[in-house]
Every structure is written in structure tokens, then in C-alpha cells.
């Protein structure tokens, strides 16, 4: 009885999971099955036997699709009607060319991709972008959108954003760059999207148009926001009430936003018990007053001060004294020489958790480096770039006292082979050393370090030191970003020149990929596919 029940149970399950199976019948007689198999490969349709993959439930097909790149998914969607449907329904992430002419195809696109939750709408500078109508249709078709990214959609207005925000209240992440809508549109998002966690705004023209910028926020989103990132805004201060109202804010990034920021931070220090743990400032008008205010963020763990020349030791001391949990500190002093030993000694005194220190265009001497080395037992990553004062004695001191140090980057510093020698005999945990544009270090010095410390990856460049030297201080941050993979924040904190160089890296690797592809695939079918893709792109 039990046996019979078992057969029934399993068989039921089979019927349920592979409802469309026709293949299972062939398994009854294995001999036939193998014979059919051979033919099956070539003429499945002629023989009236369904294809294998169609036997798979849709969700399994979707699993396969999830392992594919967007380009491959596109190819798969053209295989047959069923694949088209399964692929469309299982696609959550979609990136669209947001030119004006997108409008007529929006309906059919979102019929096809009806489960999109993460959408990017990207236009380019030379083209006219989609208008409100398109965004409104999209928001009606994708009420479950959790992420929206807008790039150069200059035709979108406040009205479009307002409707969008009302239709997509579940939005968690909004990133907009080079758009022209204004405070009203932004406020609509903040008033409607109570789950918004991340807001990134870069070059939002609309808020700069009126003489007195309309305040933005806080709105219902203030309670949920964890990350605010503002870039290249003329009057980013109008986000002040949002920043002040965002009680759960963890990360605040302000890059190249003009105007005075001290006032806002002073207000923030007075009003808010801050959760902020991660602060990035770059080319910002902020002085020690602002830093003193920021020092009230007692949970601060990460601080990047990049090219904020008004900040001095005084401000850094205030931060160090109060933000004892500081783990990562990046300072690009822009050769202003206002932050130096005094501030760093305070960091050494009060921030024992320091793991990562990046100093660019700062001139620390042995006095501060020695204290950092002995007081911060977790200091694992250190970068010293474009420092006039970091020479062999400083490196020797680090070598002798930085016991936890794993990665060290020295760039454009007056270090010589003696420094390398000291490294070879010190820092027992060293894994990687990068020495760039240090004229005093010869290839022999690098070789010697390699030889003595076989387990340490030594990256040395002594060639063309003079030619590249001009870009030393700017490139520093970028090199560090590559040096320490677990901190993408570092790359984000770099300069505009830096971002440009990142994109060249990107396009170079793309070219490489292309080269790789064309080398590997001279198969006719692939060429057909490629040409097919590019012609259709041209139509677009």
C-alpha cells in the first residue's frame, strides 16, 4: 500500500513540476530514448518531440537567464515565444536609451519587461531626452520600481517627477545626474517615497535657476534615508533641511558643491544626534568650524577630506578627540600645508581603531608617523603621496613600528633605496608594496625588496618619473583606490580629472574585451549577431 502511495506521490510531483514533459515517455523504453536522442539534436521539431529546455519549468529557465549578461539575455529572448515571455518576466534590471524617440516603444517594451524593479534611463548630451509623458507611462507600468537612475534626461520637469513619485512610492534608490527638474520634483520624491534609502544628485540644474533656492526636504523620506550624495551643485545647501532631517543618515558625501557648508554643519551639530558614520568631502568650502561640528558625529568611522584647503590641524584635532571610532581617514591636503603633524598626532592619540590612512599632499614627519605606527595597532593600509617630508627615516620608522601593516603605497616622495631596505627588514605582515614616481628608488632597490621578501607583491615604477610627475598629486587618490579594493568610496572621493581617467580605464577594458571577442569569435553566426546588433543600434 505504501509503495503504491509512493509512486502516486512522486508521480504527482512530477506532473506538477514538469507539466509540459513529453520526454518522460521516452524514458519508458531506454533503447528508443537513446535512438531518439541522436535525432533529437538535429530535428527535434520535425520529429514532433518537444525540445528539452521547454520541459523545464519557467523558473528554471529564468535561473539560466539570471546567469547571463544583458546582451546574452537579449539574444535568448529572440529564441522563441516562450523564451521571450520568460526572459521578459524575469528581468528586473533594465537600462534604456532615454532619447525622445523612446516614447513610441515604451508600451511594448514594458509589456515585455513587466517585472522591472531597477531602471536606468540614460540620454546623452547631444540628444533630446524623453519628456514627462514617457516617465509617467513608465511609472504607471512599473509601480514596483525600487531603483531609478536618470542621466541627462533634460526634458523631464517637476511635473513629470511629481507623477512619477506618486506612482512609484516604493522607490529605494534615486540617482539623477545632469537633469534639469528642480526642487518641486525632488520634494515630490521625498514626500512620496517613504522607503527611500539612497539619494544621489549630480548637477541638478533646476534648483539653481531661481535666485533663492527653494528648500528641499525633509519629507517622509528623511526617516528612511541612509545615504545622501551631492555632486557639483551650485546651491546644494538647499538640501540642508533634508540633511538635517535625515535622522538615520549613515553616509554623507558632498563633492564639489559650491558655497559655504559650515553653517549647515553647525546647525546639524546643534540639532541632531547623528548616526553618521561615513563622511566624504571634496573641494568643499568647509573650515574648522564645519569640522568641529562634524566632530559631534561620535559614530564617525570614515572621513575623507579631499582638497578642502580651509581645514587645518585644529579641525582634525577636534575630529580625533571626539570621533574615537575612526577607522579610515583620507586627507588630500592639496599642498596647503594646513594639516600636518599636529592633527595626525591627535589621530594617533585618540583613534586606536585606525585601519586605513591615506595622506596626499600632506607633509607628516617622523613625529606623527611614529605615533600613528605605535598607537594604532590595526593600521593595515597606508598611502603616502606627494609628501615632501616622507623620506627614508620616515619609511624606516614605519617599517620598524607598523606591525599590522599589510599594504603600503608610496608615491612621489623623497624616498630612496635605503627606505626599501628598511621595508625589507620590517613590517612582518606586509603583503603589497607600491612605489610610484619616487625618483630615489632604483629598479635594483625594488628587485632587492622583491628578493628579500618573496611573499610581498612589489609594484615599482621608476620609469618616466619626471614626465608623469606633474599629475602626481591628482593621480594619487586614484592609485590608492586601485591599491585598496575594499573601499570604492575612495574612488568616488576623487577629483573630476580622476573620474575622467577612470572612464578611460573603463573604455580601455571594453576595447580589450572587444578585441578578445573578435579574436575568439570568427564564427559566422556570431558575426551575424554582432552586425545585427550594431545595425539595430544605429536605427536606435
Amino acid at each position: 500500500m505504501g509503495q503504491a502511495a509512493s509512486t502516486a506521490a512522486v508521480a504527482n510531483r512530477r506532473e506538477r513540476t514538469t507539466a509540459k514533459t513529453t520526454r518522460s515517455t521516452s524514458l519508458v523504453s531506454p533503447m528508443n530514448a537513446t535512438e531518439e536522442d541522436d535525432d533529437d539534436i538535429r530535428h527535434p521539431v520535425d520529429r514532433g518531440i518537444s525540445d528539452y529546455i521547454s520541459d523545464l519549468p519557467d523558473e528554471c529557465l529564468a535561473i539560466v537567464f539570471q546567469s547571463l549578461s544583458p546582451a546574452d539575455r537579449n539574444q535568448c529572448s529572440l529564441v522563441c515565444r516562450r523564451w521571450l515571455i520568460v526572459e521578459g518576466q524575469s528581468r528586473q534590471r533594465l537600462s534604456l536609451n532615454a532619447k525622445l524617440d523612446l516614447l513610441p516603444v515604451i508600451s511594448s517594451l514594458f509589456n515585455r519587461f513587466d517585472s522591472v524593479t531597477k531602471l536606468a534611463l540614460k540620454c546623452d548630451r547631444r540628444s533630446v531626452s524623453i519628456r514627462d509623458e514617457a516617465l509617467v507611462i513608465i511609472s504607471e507600468r512599473c509601480p514596483n520600481l525600487t531603483r531609478l537612475k536618470l542621466r541627462a534626461c533634460r526634458e523631464l520637469t517637476d511635473a513629470g517627477m511629481e507623477t512619477f513619485a506618486r506612482n512609484c512610492k516604493g522607490l529605494k534608490k534615486l540617482s539623477c545626474g545632469s537633469c534639469t527638474f528642480g526642487s518641486k520634483g525632488m520634494n515630490a520624491v521625498l514626500d512620496n517615497c517613504a522607503a527611500l534609502e539612497e539619494l544621489s544628485v549630480k548637477r541638478l540644474r533646476g534648483i539653481a535657476e531661481t535666485a533663492v533656492a527653494e528648500p528641499i526636504g525633509p519629507g517622509v523620506a528623511a526617516a528612511s534615508l541612509k545615504t545622501i550624495c551631492l555632486k557639483e551643485l551650485y546651491n546644494g545647501q538647499c538640501f540642508g533641511s533634508l540633511i538635517l532631517g535625515a535622522k538615520n543618515l549613515k553616509t554623507l558625501k558632498l563633492f564639489r558643491c559650491s558655497g559655504d557648508w559650515d553653517t549647515l554643519f553647525t546647525l546639524m551639530a546643534e540639532r541632531v544626534t547623528s548616526m553618521i558614520a561615513d563622511v566624504h568631502f571634496e573641494r568643499l568650502q568647509i573650515s574648522d568650524i564645519g569640522l568641529q561640528a562634524i566632530s559631534h558625529c561620535s559614530n564617525l568611522e570614515i572621513l575623507h577630506l579631499v582638497k578642502t584647503p580651509e581645514c587645518t590641524d585644529l579641525g582634525l584635532v577636534a575630529i580625533a578627540e571626539r570621533c574615537k571610532l575612526l577607522r579610515k581617514l583620507h586627507i588630500d591636503g592639496w599642498k596647503a600645508n594646513r594639516i600636518g603633524d599636529e592633527g595626525l598626532i591627535a589621530v594617533a592619540k585618540f583613534c586606536p581603531n585606525l585601519q586605513e590612512l591615506v595622506l596626499i599632499g600632506v607633509n607628516p614627519t617622523k613625529a606623527s608617523l611614529e605615533m600613528l605606527a605605535s598607537n594604532c595597532p590595526n593600521l593595515e593600509r597606508l598611502a603616502l603621496c606627494a609628501s615632501d617630508t616622507v623620506g627614508d627615516p620616515e619609511i624606516s620608522c614605519i617599517a620598524a613600528k607598523c606591525l599590522a601593516l599589510k599594504k603600503l603605497c608610496i608615491k612621489s616622495c623623497p624616498v630612496s633605496d635605503h627606505g626599501m631596505e628598511a621595508l625589507a627588514n620590517g613590517c612582518p605582515n606586509l603583503v603589497k608594496v607600491k612605489v610610484k614616481k619616487c625618483k630615489g628608488v632604483t629598479p635594483e632597490g625594488g628587485d632587492w625588496l622583491r628578493l628579500t621578501r618573496g611573499s610581498v607583491a612589489v609594484n615599482l615604477d621608476t620609469v618616466e618619473a619626471e614626465l608623469q610627475d606633474a599629475s602626481a598629486s591628482d593621480g594619487g587618490a586614484q592609485d590608492n583606490a586601485i591599491e585598496f579594493p575594499p573601499m570604492p568610496v575612495c574612488a568616488a572621493a576623487s577629483t573630476s580629472g580622476n573620474i575622467a581617467s577612470r572612464s578611460t580605464v573603463r573604455s580601455a577594458s571594453f576595447k580589450q574585451r572587444l578585441g578578445l571577442l573578435s579574436g575568439r569569435k570568427i564564427v559566422a553566426s556570431t558575426l551575424r549577431r554582432w552586425s545585427g546588433g550594431s545595425t539595430s543600434a544605429r536605427h536606435g
Partner: protein, 176 residues
């Protein structure tokens, strides 16, 4: 009183299931070949295990009409490695090297039928790798699928796709 009975029944069922759960499980392939496996192996196969659970472990012979005696040993091998915690990249590379396209597809079906998540994930990646960077025509041939679009429909779909960006979005996670 009623409580007593039920507790007795509980102990009874426990004493019955215990010996049977340590006994081997017989998996019967579609072509009637019996494979005896340890109960731990059966645990990896959710379909089989849930069946054993449903019958309180009384039944240890499980017919798997969808799986051939050719495929079942592969599935068992993978489950054994999985239990031993020995699924490495090397093992998977070797494992897949033995399989032709048809076998990969059959095993994928088997993994789905038996509901073995790890094997299913692994094989879906294998299939994805084999059709990555290939033309539509290749994928159709690979799976033996008839193109049921009219040329006009296909052209329209391609035109729509031209509006999508397929490159990796470099500033998706890190920038901003």
C-alpha cells in the same frame, strides 16, 4: 488518558522511524535500475526527502520515473561530494567535462525534478556558460528549439532591444 496514548504513539513512531532512517534508500530509475544510497544522500534530494518525511520514513524505495540509470549516478556523485563538503571549482570542472550538451540538459532536468538546489544552480551556470556570447541561431540549435516568430515579429523585437543598453553599468554600484 488521551495524553498517555498520544505519547505512546509518539514513542512508537520514533522507535519505528529510527531504524528505517538509518537504513539505505533505494532509488529506482526510470529504466528500473535500483540505486541504493545512504539516507544523507536522499536528504540532498528534496523531492525524495519530502516523500520519505511524508511517509514517516516507512518507505525507502522510491521510484524516479523521470530519471534514467544513465543520469542518476551523476546526481548521486554530486550529492556525495556535496555532503562531504568537497564541491570545489576543480571538481565541478571535472564533473562537467564528462558531460556532453545533452547530458547537461538531462541532469538539469533531473536536478530540477529532484529539487537539488546546488546542482540546479551549478548546471544553470554551466548552461549559461555554454550559450554565452552565442547567436540566437546557435542557441536555437543548441536546445533544438523551433523559431516560432515570423520574420516581421523578430525584426520588431530586435528593434525594441536596440533601445536597451547591454553593457555593464559601471557606475551602478560604486559611483554616486
Amino acid at each position: 488518558m488521551a495524553e498517555e496514548v498520544s505519547s505512546q504513539m509518539n514513542s512508537l513512531s520514533i522507535s519505528e522511524t529510527n531504524p528505517s532512517s538509518s537504513a539505505t534508500i533505494s532509488l529506482v530509475s526510470g529504466d528500473d535500475i535500483v540505486f541504493k544510497v545512504e539516507p544523507t544522500i536522499a536528504k540532498e534530494m528534496e523531492t525524495v526527502q519530502s516523500f520519505i518525511d511524508e511517509t514517516d520514513g516507512k518507505i525507502t524505495t522510491i521510484p524516479l520515473p523521470n530519471i534514467s540509470s544513465h543520469d542518476l549516478p551523476y546526481v548521486i556523485e554530486y550529492c556525495e561530494k556535496s555532503i562531504a563538503g568537497k564541491i570545489t571549482k576543480e571538481f565541478e570542472a571535472e564533473f562537467v567535462k564528462k558531460l556532453n550538451n545533452e547530458e547537461v540538459k538531462e541532469l538539469f532536468l533531473a536536478a530540477n525534478y529532484l529539487n537539488i538546489k546546488k546542482l540546479l544552480d551549478f548546471l544553470s551556470q554551466v548552461i549559461a556558460d555554454r550559450i554565452a556570447n552565442k547567436s540566437v541561431e546557435y542557441v536555437r540549435r543548441y536546445f533544438g528549439i523551433e523559431n516560432d516568430f515570423t520574420p516581421e515579429e523578430e525584426a520588431k523585437l530586435r528593434e525594441e532591444l536596440a533601445w536597451t543598453f547591454t553593457g555593464v553599468d559601471p557606475d551602478d554600484e560604486d559611483e554616486n
